[in-house]
């Protein structure tokens, strides 16, 4: 094993040739096999009693394995939310063979299976490794999957490609010798577009990759954002860190956090508390650490960047014109298609192409869930129409990034046949929800059935269109995996004297105008929360001025009218 192996890039014939995922070479594959051997040994030691549960737990978490309410849950990494069709098919196979035929896409752009058996994990890991996938660092107090824009490389407004740096950060953070036993989990998000689709300001570190006047790449660096018990928006540390210094700067941030982060109280252990408590001293400390690092050793060489960037070169686009006749005719001739296209089809940087968002929010469904058959249907459509590439968005939908506009009717038909053509992207039934008490050991209330009830209540699409853009986010406990603080309407389920109670916040946002929602008043019982949401939306419809989205009206009129409508009769 220690013999020198030359790093030769092996084309894997099983992978779609044109999908722009990072392609493993022999070294990456060997590393994965070693990691499988390591975790298999750890499982064996646990079963023999050589590791206690307390010792084993952080090890299994760093390999993506939770113990939840009903079973183990296995969270598989989808690095920065990019998959190729072969990988998605393999996830479908795993769902069928070792789980219950479905998976759940998460707000961290990963996928999790709810019914994993500990003894099956080594086999699942090998099946994942067959398609260059793993579950490394999808949990635990380490650097988690870096998330990015689901339209990266397709967005017409993108300033710089975040995928390159997300992959560099993935490699840098993989089994980082110093930052694997942090005070708490550590989440990094990176965007390269003017429109923030990664909720950059609610991450432990948020990065904006941009270009200066001369075209050189640099990063805006934010730190200390997060949701959970103490929601905080991130603080900007630097306006500009040159590309070559990115890893050194991240080392400095992590080193200060690892040395000074709270180790005594789990609720005060995230970097957001340290940043908040230290104020300017945090930035000064990071700068001091950065200044004394051996810069050359941590330098990100342009050759390395170029080598990684080659993996994300544009796929072989055809030279096409926008709005081809086939697309225009379908829009004009098929109202159902047109309604879907209005919500799901997004402009692309390449003329004649579009990005398609696939709703995993069917009316009455479980947000983010997909069956093995649906995964296979999406893989098939990706192969035919999107260079074999699929993205996972942080709002728990899928994206076909590069679809020819003339193919849109066929893609829609294919999605429709798989139950994946719900035309509700960005509307009230496009709900983010955590698994809640139906699956999660930490939850204090259910989330999924609340999402289902709301989505059923607003099933009428005309009504959804009338309401327009409105993001409802639901968490089943204070840990806020359902991002309730940054939903236009946020719902938090808590336990109130043994019964589920739902607190509602209004006016949150996870994008450029990031804001934390305000609590509207006392909580609502399980069977009243849908009525409350309806009251809030009726109030909005009555109060809105022309062209205002829900959140615009809220910002103009404040909590008062909503409070009044919700509690006046009480």
């Amino acid at each position: 094993m220690n013999a020198f192996v030359a790093p030769i890039a092996l084309p894997n014939p099983a992978h779609p040739a044109q999908a722009r995922t990072y392609r493993y070479d022999a070294v990456d594959r060997e590393f994965l096999q070693e990691r499988i051997a390591e975790f298999s040994d750890q499982i064996a030691r646990r079963l023999r009693g050589e590791l206690t549960e307390d010792e084993f737990k952080p090890l299994r978490l760093m390999n993506g394995l939770y113990l939840q309410l009903h079973a183990y849950m296995y969270r598989i990494a989808i690095p920065y939310g990019i998959l190729n069709a072969t990988q998605l098919r393999q996830l479908a196979m795993i769902a069928r063979r070792w789980d219950r035929g479905y998976g759940h896409f998460t707000t961290r752009q990963n996928i999790q299976f709810n019914w994993t058996r500990l003894e099956d994990v080594p086999d699942i890991m090998r099946a994942l490794a067959d398609v260059d996938m793993h579950a490394i660092q999808t949990s635990g107090n380490c650097i988690r999957n870096t998330t990015t824009d689901e339209y990266a490389g397709a967005d017409p407004e993108e300033a710089a490609d975040p995928r390159i740096y997300a992959e560099i950060i993935r490699q840098w953070s993989t089994l980082h010798p110093e930052f694997t036993w942090l005070p708490r989990k550590f989440k990094i998000a990176i965007t390269g577009a003017p429109q923030d689709r990664v909720a950059m300001q609610v991450h432990d570190v948020g990065l904006v990759v941009k270009r200066d006047a001369a075209g050189a790449i640099g990063f805006e660096i934010w730190a200390g954002g997060g949701l959970g018990r103490t929601p905080v928006l991130a603080t900007k540390l630097r306006d500009w860190v040159p590309e070559a210094e990115l890893l050194a700067y991240l080392e400095a941030v992590l080193r200060v956090y690892n040395a000074l982060g709270n180790r005594d109280n789990i609720y005060k252990a995230r970097i957001k508390i340290l940043v908040r408590d230290m104020g300017d001293a945090f930035r000064e400390r990071v700068e001091r650490e950065f200044a004394r690092l051996p810069q050359r050793a941590y330098r990100l060489d342009p050759e390395v960047v170029a080598e990684i960037a080659a993996h994300f070169a544009p796929p072989p686009f055809a030279r096409l014109a926008d709005n081809p006749p086939a697309y225009a005719a379908a829009l004009a001739g098929n109202a159902e298609f047109a309604a879907w296209a209005k919500q799901s089809v997004r402009a692309h940087r390449q003329p004649g192409y579009a990005s398609v968002t696939i709703s995993l929010k069917p009316i009455g469904g479980i947000p983010g869930d997909a069956s093995a058959e649906q995964m296979e249907a999406v893989a098939r459509l990706a192969e035919r129409h999107s260079f074999g590439e699929i993205r996972v968005s942080h709002v728990q939908n899928l994206v076909l990034p590069h679809v020819r506009q003339e193919d849109l009717p066929a893609v829609w038909q294919g999605l429709r046949e798989a139950g994946l053509a719900t035309p509700n992207i960005g509307l009230v039934s496009d709900i983010i929800a955590c698994p809640g008490m139906d699956y999660c050991a930490l939850a204090t209330a259910r989330s999924i059935p609340v999402a289902q009830m709301i989505s059923e209540r607003f099933a009428d699409l005309d009504r959804q269109h009338d309401i327009g853009e409105c993001f409802i986010n639901i968490s089943g406990c204070i840990n806020a995996c359902g991002h309730h603080h940054v939903g236009h309407i946020g719902i938090l389920g808590v336990d109130k004297r043994g019964a589920e109670s739902y607190q509602i916040t209004l006016g949150g946002s996870a994008t450029n105008d990031a804001a934390l929602g305000e609590l509207v008043g006392p909580g609502f019982p399980y069977d009243k929360v849908t009525d409350a949401v309806e009251t809030i939306l009726r109030t909005y419809l009555a109060e809105r001025a022309a062209g205002e989205r829900f959140v615009d009206t809220y910002r103009r009129i404040g909590l008062g009218p909503f409070k009044e409508a919700l509690y006046a009769s009480a």
């Binding site: 952080p58 107090n141 010798p177 110093e178 694997t180 036993w181 690892n258 180790r263 080598e307």
Partner: protein, 172 residues
């Protein structure tokens, strides 16, 4: 307590841990920071070691380092990873070349990473299985990051260990 040396062998400990109120022997002795600061060390020839508190920043002891042959970095619980940063800072910022010893609740699974942060030895619980420690260390021999122990001026992997990108093959 037995000690795991850099080669992965269990050896008897040449050092003794001295309580703050115990007399200082003329033998390799590990002291607390308070004791070390209080002690008159002029004229002492036997090696000195310091048991760091997990919250102590290496810069607070920088002036003592020239006198020290050993610094012990503690993991009060295996989950508490401050020792990784302490060790790294000692090597990287302060050029400490003596022994860095990990103490406390250390798992075999942490040894490889501790080594890559500059730790040289581990204080083991009685009866620890050295073979398991070696297995856990060796099971992964590829790293995506540099380590102070191999840190060349320009961060390049040591000769013969480069694997492309920033990856390197770890020496056994």
């Amino acid at each position: 307590m037995p000690v795991l040396d850099a080669k992965g062998h269990v050896v008897t400990d040449a050092w003794v841990r001295i309580a703050d109120d115990a007399p200082l022997p003329d033998a390799p002795a590990i002291l607390s920071l308070a004791r070390l600061r209080a002690e008159t060390l002029a004229g002492r020839n036997a090696p000195l070691g310091l048991a760091l508190d997990p919250a102590t920043q290496p810069e607070e002891i920088a002036e003592l380092l020239p006198r020290l042959a050993l610094v012990a970095v503690p993991l009060p619980k295996s989950k508490d990873g401050r020792a990784f940063t302490q060790a790294r800072a000692l090597r990287e910022h302060f050029g400490f070349t003596g022994e860095i010893r990990a103490t406390g609740h250390v798992l075999p699974d942490q040894w490889r990473m501790l080594r890559r942060c500059g730790v040289s030895t581990v204080e083991l619980p009685e009866g620890a299985d050295a073979a398991q420690w070696q297995r856990s260390r060796d099971v992964i021999d590829i790293a995506y990051q540099p380590s102070p122990s191999e840190m060349t001026e320009d961060g390049a992997p040591p000769a013969g260990s480069a694997l492309g990108l920033r990856r390197r093959r770890l020496a056994a």
